[in-house]
């Protein structure tokens, strides 16, 4: 009896701890219990590469400021071997500075930030730069004069002037004079555009930033053009002459400052890797709070780097799947082949989607069983036999992928997400079961395993479950308490109510 009390006590404490932490996070830290509206959070990883030219190295990079509704959540710097500091200038702009006495091989520096667009508003005010008239050769000056005169004729304001100019350049329908101006500047149209605007006396500046594309690597800095007219700034994308700020443009710096400045290095490059995560709005909000207040108690997985977060997303679902299997085995009494094989299959299903996964599973196991029946005549030792089955499973997977790809079914490519070794053991077990107890037992246990896998899959893909496991990992402690209690469950299984049905007096 004392062990029963102990279990009850330990389980009770575990459940209380888990629930307590969850409630604390809910009410004190403001984590939402329900998955709410989602917000796209972007992770930008900027990578600076350069070749040192000898002597001291100093790299400064302008850091982005929150603009146009974009909000920064988190920043990380990685730069081993470099002295590092962040300098803040009087106007509030920040610069990261890496320094080193000497360096003799190409180096890479990283700066990672997380950001999302909380509100959508414009860029707002910014000091108007002084207009510096361009220095031109006589023939260019004459051409520029005619171009500006013609544009003025067709436009009513500096904004429409700029729009006309940009459209001409973007659509490549320039007249002779304009074409003359841009000739030889194919890779730097923007510089010529700036010259024309300066000549026309229109204040303009560059806006540098990154076009956000999910999963993109090696993205480069892009530049937008900003024109001042009637007390306001107007943005244009010089690539397509579209006015306004593109939705997926993250602004890095405004004005004609350099983003990257490398002293003591050559061939420097700045590239970005981009990842988009969809997170509940409220979670984003609380992350934002944490970014400002690190002292706060934080059990959140969000503290981890992005790749690890993705891994934990999957890992944290396993206890839920395991609970389903425990319930099915202890309370319902379903027989499965291998204790936790159904969870691994279910994890595979999450990657492949249910129907595709089921189909692929049945094909692979079916084909495997068929070929395995031949292997059983060969009297192989267990380890070589299992290895043969593993190879077989991989071959079947490859065949399945290639054939279905040729036929145009891309879904079957996800076959690789099903766990190979587990499939092999399933085939081996089922095969022995078939020989020893006949196909009926194979159907019972195989069906039981698949049923458990499907139920585990369904439980693990409920949005609320995903949200709770990821945002409240401490619920796992409670789950453990529940599992401990289930371990002491001595009542009848549902299947036993059927098994012992003939003990009923009225059926005898």
């Amino acid at each position: 009896m004392s062990s029963r009390m102990q279990i009850a006590l330990v389980a009770g404490i575990l459940i209380a701890i888990g629930l307590g932490l969850t409630l604390y996070k809910r009410f004190e830290l403001g984590f939402p219990l329900l998955p709410g509206e989602r917000q796209n959070v972007w992770t930008l990883e900027s990578k600076v590469t350069f070749n040192p030219t000898g002597g001291p190295v100093e790299i400064s990079m302008a850091l982005p400021e929150p603009r146009a509704g974009w909000t920064l959540l988190d920043e990380h710097f990685a730069s081993s071997g470099f002295g590092f500091s962040i300098e803040e200038s009087a106007d509030g702009s920040r610069q990261a500075k890496w320094t080193r006495q000497s360096l003799n091989r190409p180096a890479t520096l990283y700066y990672k930030l997380q950001t999302y667009r909380a509100d959508e508003f414009g860029l707002g005010a910014s000091p108007v730069p002084e207009i510096v008239p361009p220095e031109l050769t006589d023939d260019r000056r004459a051409a520029m004069g005619r171009v500006v005169a013609k544009l003025r004729e067709r436009s009513s304001s500096p904004v429409s002037f700029s729009a006309q100019l940009l459209q001409q350049v973007a659509n490549d329908n320039m007249d002779q004079d304009t074409a003359f101006l841009f000739a030889g500047h194919e890779h730097n149209h923007l510089a010529v555009i700036m010259e024309v605007l300066a000549y026309a006396g229109i204040p303009a500046q560059r806006v540098k930033g990154v076009f956000l594309e999910d999963g993109r690597r090696r993205q480069q800095i892009s530049t937008l053009l900003e024109v001042f007219d009637n007390g306001r700034w107007h943005l244009f994308n010089p690539q397509n002459a579209q006015p306004g700020l593109p939705d997926n443009f993250f602004i890095w710096s405004r004005g004609d400052r350099f983003i990257l400045d490398v002293i003591g290095g050559s061939s420097s490059q700045l590239e970005f890797a981009l990842v988009k995560n969809s997170l509940p709005v409220k979670t984003v909000l609380s992350m934002e709070q944490q970014a400002g207040d690190k002292l706060m108690l934080d059990f959140s997985i969000y503290a981890l780097p992005v790749e690890q977060q993705g891994m934990f997303k999957g890992l944290l679902l396993i206890p839920v799947g395991a609970l389903v299997v425990v319930l099915l085995r202890v309370i319902v009494g379903i027989r499965t082949s291998g204790t936790f094989m159904p969870i691994l299959i279910a994890l595979g299903f999450i990657q492949t989607t249910l129907l595709t996964g089921l189909l692929i599973f049945l094909i692979v196991v079916g084909a495997g069983l068929w070929i395995r029946s031949y292997l059983s005549h060969l009297n192989l030792l267990l380890v070589s036999r299992i290895t043969a089955v593993v190879i077989l499973v991989i071959l079947i997977m490859a065949t399945l992928s290639i054939v279905s790809y040729k036929l145009g079914f891309n879904q079957a490519l996800s076959v690789t997400f099903l766990p190979t070794i587990i499939l092999s053991w399933t085939i081996e077990r089922m095969s022995i079961l078939w020989e020893e107890d006949g196909p009926r037992e194979v159907l019972i246990q195989g069906g039981g395993s698949l049923l458990a896998a499907v139920l585990a899959y369904l439980a693990m893909t409920v949005e609320l479950v995903e949200h709770l496991t990821f945002n409240f990992p401490e619920l796992m402690i409670s789950l453990m308490g529940v599992v401990l209690l289930l371990g002491k469950y001595t009542g009848y299984r549902l299947s036993e109510l059927y098994r012992f049905r003939y003990l009923r007096k009225d059926w005898q």
């Binding site: 030792l381 267990l382 001595t490 009542g491 009848y492 059927y498 049905r501 003939y502 003990l503």
Partner: protein, 319 residues
């Protein structure tokens, strides 16, 4: 689908799988004792040490290499059984009942060559029949010629008697009779008939096949109500003796009745199944609890058998 309510099961005192695992196996059977019963070779050796009756062991094959010289062990053996030491559920047991030189006749009548026998042995060693596919050893032992009294009740296989022993007391017993459907195996879930036996007398109480009551053997046609086990006292004593031998608090003893040598222990099971309750149409939990209520004791096997026969005997016949 028909179901029985949990309450009805509780009133009958039926033991469920969860309760068996938690309340009896986990509590009365220390883990370290399991190898004693999971490995039939070890069981046989300690049973011989304790002077308990077991089928004679002719030889053991432990490594694949020894299979080449298997003929030497088989020399002069007219009938024998090859089985895995750690097999489960009667898997991998090869019974040779007749032999002409290199032709071996199975109890079912099928004839095997020496090569077939060697292959079977090789499969045993590679772990084909053992739990979890662990490498195993093969035992070659005497084939039991079962008591002709039982021949009416079994088809192509040896009927074996299962006695559940709790804290040294026999609490429930049944005999498992092979049928054509069970392929000569005494496995209830494969279609063998389970016949509940009265603890006091060894008289049949009820017979079930695949959970359904039957009155006569489906193949031989003999009525189970006439089944009465001889050597009953001796058989119960043998089962109870395994308590002292193994130290297990809850186990099932599988016993066979040999024509000349009487009851012999075939194997012990530290996780005996629950189907015995259906064969007896009686609940185990009730009997286990009445054993728990007995004052602590240091009774001899004879005294425990007497107590059990008195407590659990005289079950009403269900035929």
């Amino acid at each position: 689908m028909k179901f029985i309510s949990p309450r009805a099961l509780r009133e009958l005192g039926v033991l469920g799988m969860n309760s068996r695992n938690v309340n009896y196996i986990a509590r009365s059977n220390p883990r370290r004792l399991f190898p004693l019963v999971d490995n039939k070779l070890m069981t046989k050796r300690i049973a011989e040490e304790h002077g308990l009756n077991v089928p004679k062991l002719y030889g053991v094959i432990e490594i694949q290499h020894e299979i080449q010289d298997m003929e030497k062990i088989l020399e002069g053996l007219e009938r024998f059984v090859i089985k895995p030491a750690q097999g489960s559920g009667g898997k991998g047991i090869l019974v040779i009942s007749e032999r002409h030189e290199h032709n071996f006749t199975k109890s079912s009548g099928a004839v095997l060559s020496l090569r077939d026998v060697k292959r079977h042995t090789s499969n045993i060693l590679s772990g084909l029949y053992s739990l979890g596919g662990k490498p195993d050893v093969a035992m070659i032992e005497d084939m039991i010629i079962f008591d002709p009294i039982l021949s009416h009740f079994s088809y192509e296989g040896v009927p074996d008697i299962r006695v559940i022993v709790y804290r040294g007391f026999p609490v429930m017993a049944m005999i498992r009779c092979a049928t054509h459907a069970s392929d000569g195996k005494a496995n209830l879930h494969q279609g063998a008939v389970g016949v509940g036996l009265d603890i006091e007398t060894g008289q049949s109480v009820c017979a079930v096949q695949k959970n359904v009551k039957v009155s006569k053997h489906p193949d031989t046609g003999y009525g189970f109500e006439d089944l009465h086990l001889p050597h009953w006292e001796q058989l119960l004593l043998l089962a109870c003796g395994c308590y002292e031998m193994t130290g297990l608090g809850y186990f099932g003893a599988d016993i066979v009745l040999d024509k000349t040598r009487g009851p012999m222990i075939l194997e012990l099971n530290a996780r005996p199944g629950l189907a015995i309750q259906i064969a007896n149409q009686a609940g185990l939990a009730k009997r286990l609890k009445s054993i728990d209520r007995l004052p602590s004791h240091s009774l001899l096997p004879e005294e425990r058998v007497a107590t059990s026969r008195q407590m659990f005997g005289r079950q009403p016949s269900m035929f």
